[in-house]
């Protein structure tokens, strides 16, 4: 397939690939890039040379994505790597997330911006603990589309029976999760079966290839066009002769549609005003919607600063200092109940106190653990926090931009946890 003409109205799919260490994930990605002609000749020559030096029989496509020295040496993927490829109708941003257990935080990172997840299993091993962990995170982060790729079909004689068994096991597992759309594809990443080209070895499989599925997944409802939300990022006061009295509120529309003339309310002050104009470098706009970055001017002079939110009076977000969260803990140092942490939510920064640890998830059984409430690296738990100032939020399932936050260590400044507002 030759990508000569990229249509300018092409849309964008962000997806993640996850699987356990030896499922052949890097090979699958290498295959996608190779078969869509995204890999360049010099990159291919580089990895051919390295493969030969190592005495490997075939060109090791995994070498394309293992960008760090330690990864190549240990043959594992440590950090999220982002890859880009395109077909005429769609551009793809792929986050390659490591399956290695100690780096699960990176999977959450990759998943937080994805619309689709490819979950990879080894046909010889079937659905294992890692598969469940990754699928659970996928559902927790509201990724609506999941593709279960059963890889290494060549090593199980391209057996339909093996594929069906894995499919049934996975169906049983996800029946307890909330995932809108699941596809099942038997593949051999090494040999290229059902990745871009149809497999000749599995005539029993009549479904689409992986690339076809990626190209045709329906993306429509990812953004919220209903609840108007505009967190103020930056107050623009040029103070030049030409724009002497200009006062604009720069930010990104995180929900709904804003138009000049709309009546708006500013949180937390509660003052109301009217949108005077929606400004951009390219001229004023008749309306602004997600995910546009614009500058809003208002009819009235109101004291507004970074962290405030512009909304519509008849559709306000929840406002509270007491918030219930699901968190994924991402640091070696455990969560301490009663400790203060910094939170970042939309453009707001505040402090919070961890009031309660309600339960920890056993993500293999999906049971709640209530007798061991120690929360360490990679744990997923439900907690209650109290914040120093009210947060203006929506349920994560309704709006992931206003429904997400991070916890930050006030001493080391490390990002400690991803929080999903319930």
């Amino acid at each position: 397939m030759e990508i000569k003409e990229q249509k300018r109205e092409a849309d964008l799919l962000r997806f993640i690939t996850c699987g356990s260490v030896d499922d052949g994930k890097s090979t699958l990605i290498g295959r996608l890039l190779y078969d869509t002609k995204t890999i360049f000749e010099d990159q291919l020559q580089n990895i051919e040379r390295t493969s030969q030096q190592r005495g490997e029989e075939y060109v090791n496509l995994a070498l394309l994505t293992d960008g760090l020295r330690a990864e190549r040496e240990q043959g594992i993927t440590i950090d999220v790597a982002y890859r880009y490829f395109a077909t005429p109708n769609r551009k793809f941003i792929m986050a390659d997330t490591p399956g290695h257990i100690q780096y699960t935080r990176n999977m959450v990172t990759g998943a937080s911006t994805a619309n689709l997840a490819i979950v990879l299993v080894d046909a010889r091993k079937g659905v294992i603990e890692q598969t469940c962990r990754h699928t659970f995170i996928t559902s927790l982060l509201k990724i609506d589309h999941v593709i279960l790729c059963v890889n290494k079909m060549d090593l199980v004689g391209f057996s339909e029976e093996v594929f069906n068994k894995i499919k049934t096991d996975f169906e049983t597992f996800i029946s307890r999760l909330d995932i809108a759309d699941v596809s099942y594809i038997p593949v051999s990443a090494l040999q290229g079966d059902n990745i871009v080209n149809r497999s000749e070895s599995m005539p029993w499989y009549e479904g689409p290839t992986l690339l076809y599925t990626l190209e045709n997944v329906h993306l429509g409802s990812d953004l919220n066009f209903v609840d108007a939300r505009f967190p103020v990022q930056y107050v623009s006061r040029p103070q030049t002769t030409e724009y002497h009295d200009f006062r604009g509120y720069a930010g990104r529309v995180e929900g709904g549609v804003f138009k000049p003339g709309d009546e708006v309310m500013i949180l937390p002050s509660g003052f109301t005003s009217t949108i005077n104009s929606i400004e951009t470098f390219d001229g004023p706009l008749a309306e602004a919607f997600p995910p546009m970055s614009v500058t809003i001017t208002l009819a009235d002079e109101i004291d507004i600063s970074r962290g405030d939110m512009i909304v519509k009076p008849n559709n306000q977000p929840q406002a509270s200092q007491d918030v219930e969260l699901m968190i994924c803990w991402m640091n070696e140092k455990p969560l301490v109940k009663g400790r203060k942490y910094i939170i970042r939510h939309t453009t707001r920064e505040a402090k919070c106190l961890v009031k309660e640890i309600r339960y920890k998830m056993n993500i293999n059984t999906l049971h709640k653990i209530e007798d061991d409430l120690s929360i360490g690296l990679n744990d997923i738990a439900r907690i209650a926090i109290r914040t120093t100032v009210p947060l203006f939020y929506d349920e994560y399932r309704r709006n992931s931009a206003t429904g997400s936050l991070i916890l930050v260590d006030e001493f080391t400044n490390e990002t400690l946890a991803a929080g999903i507002i319930l």
């Binding site: 849309d11 020295r69 395109a86 930056y234 990104r252 997400s404």
Partner: protein, 314 residues
Amino acid sequence: MGYQPWTMDETDMSYSYKLSYLKQLEAESIYIMREAVAQFEKPVLLFSGGKDSIVMAHLARKAFWPAKLPFPMLHVDTGHNFPETIEFRDYLVNKIGARLVVRTVQDSIDQGLAVEEKGPNPSRNGLQTVTLLSAIEEFKFDVAFGGARRDEEKARAKERFFSHRDEFSQWDPKNQRPELWHLYNGRKNPGEHFRVFPLSNWTELDIWQYISEEELELPSIYFSHQREIVNRQGVLLAKSEFITLLKGEQYEEKTIRFRTVGDMSCTGAVESPASNLDDIIAEVAAARVTERAARADDQRSEAAMEDRKKQGYF
């Protein structure tokens, strides 16, 4: 208001409210730049005169319009530039009313901070790091915008939008902060700084399509022209005072252009008749080698970029 699943009407609405891929990238970059300016005190934009930093400067104008850029641009000058790039740099800075700071590798060498490589054609590529870091220290910049893209190179594919540098300006790729949703954590201790990469998600083709769509001006060396070059192990180097011919080498005139803009001593040309943006876009779309393949500085070892980045390179 309770939660309601999407109805058909709302799905249709999302279609009419669709932003093109390039406009999505633009909105993301603007968001990142505003976020960095809001979170830090002394930002600077690293400007090389190349197409990526030209796009970045354009996005910065969009992000802060109608105000002027709320930060200066810094050019780390190796002294091995294409004259066309410097000419363009000064033209652009003047046109957009930006402030430009230039710090030179030669000064770093003269001050004893850096030592010139040995050999007939020393590259000053690695030495730029020394000059960059001393400029960051001199001006107490706490965040520097870089035009690096993740598609350029595999170590860069693992870079964050907000990339933390310790007090020695080092990048620790195995201990990067997780970056979730679009919540960027720019908190730091005194003496540390951040590199912010607004173009992370752009590809080479996206950059060219955007340049075309926005009708941006570029240095002339990106377009096809006649030039005397020498073919050194497959890298086509332009004739300049920075190149000493080795035994058996000779200059020949070719029709070439440059895909990237770096030092004259290490930036290779490609033979190309592409003299306008449409031709270049067609050429990039059909290209079979990466733009960095022509960079002698990246050919040194498999981890050349990772090693330079760890030390504080762009």
